[in-house]
Subunit: 223 residues, 2 copies
């Protein structure tokens, strides 16, 4: 029998990305949750996929819900932090919203597993996930806040303030339908979100600014 | 024991909307799938919720997948038919896309259960649901077709043609997050989709035309 206690060196070669057993468990769980479904995945199946015993898995996560919660947190932590910073800055809101969207969609399209596909699961409605639901609601609120500023700046349609957040999350659906997003997805969505709020100025310049700030290679405006 | 064979009158008062046992089964299944999850719902639970024996349920649907398939078909049938008709019409594409979106979002927001929340389930990737996936892909293609015509008419951003379909389906997410959509949701999304394609003319007139055609009460432009 292999010994897999916490802190002990693993006897088997690691099969998954992740420097620690915890990261490997998260990666295996994300694969199973997104490919087989959350309800249909047992902690036993996760342990098997990592190559550890179930008891070892429980050293890291007490329940399957704890694993899902850690994975979901990983999808909102970075955009929430960036949105908080951007809201504190001054100047026009349009470039700040553009930066937030390009960064967020880049992450949603580029993460190893399409975890956003789990957002609508009824299983998330229980108390255990209240923290996650709250954090995603705060992120939505930050998007709405920036969007309302853009609308005010452009005299745009007042009731469109929820749509940028929706467009961003639609990358999850596209990724699911097409097994991936095209490289221009973040830029297309960021530009689209500004248009929807009534902003219609120099998109090439806007992309350049966002590219510089995020140090993400720019994708040229095709229009 | 109650007798519940096909065609026999039910001995128990119907508890659900739907004129036939089949409709009641679909309604109960939709409630359970959207509230408890697809994998977690047994055919036994569905039969119990309708108040029939499991054997009676099997007269109508051989498997749980058959029930889900019938429910999913109900979410794309009407927009697919309307989109097919609109594509055959002549004249500018913008009003036709606007009509399709208002009609589709009205249905997504107003149906008894938020079935679109099931679109991203990994369970849908099996062959059994290929027909549904195909029909949804055709609907997406029809949206893309109209969107490309609008882009051409307005000299809009060429890579934005998938976004109207995404915006429409985002009503599913909003409904899930807020336990419903505001009455202006279909109009807000239809206007937003046109803006994203570069259309920026008289939205009040556009809404009036769509309202007349669909015989849906207009919601006033707030801008």
């Amino acid at each position: 029998m292999r010994s897999e206690g916490r802190g002990r060196p693993r006897l088997e070669q690691s099969r998954r990305p992740g420097k620690t057993a915890r990261e490997e468990i998260l990666d295996a769980a994300a694969e199973l949750f997104t490919n087989q479904g959350y309800a249909s995945t047992s902690t036993r199946a996760i342990a098997d996929a990592v190559g550890v015993r179930q008891a070892s898995l429980y050293h890291h996560f007490a329940t399957k819900d704890d694993i899902l919660d850690a994975l979901l947190a990983g999808t909102v932590d970075a955009p929430l932090k960036l949105a908080g910073e951007l809201l504190l800055e001054t100047g026009p809101a349009a470039p700040r919203l553009h930066v937030l969207i390009v960064s967020d969609v880049t992450q949603l399209c580029g993460s190893r597993w399409n975890l956003g596909a789990l957002y609508l699961l009824p299983e998330l409605r229980v108390d255990r996930f209240e923290q996650f639901r709250l954090r995603r609601a705060v992120l939505r609120d930050h998007y709405g806040n920036l969007a309302r500023q853009v609308i005010a700046e452009c005299d745009g349609p007042p009731d469109a303030d929820d749509l940028p957040f929706r467009l961003v999350e639609s990358a999850i659906n596209r990724r699911s339908d097409d097994n991936g997003c095209p490289p221009e997805q973040p830029w297309m969505i960021a530009d689209g979100a500004l248009r929807i709020l009534g902003w219609d100025r120099d998109f090439a310049l806007m992309r350049q600014g966002t590219s510089t700030r995020l140090q993400i290679e720019p994708v040229n405006v095709s229009a």
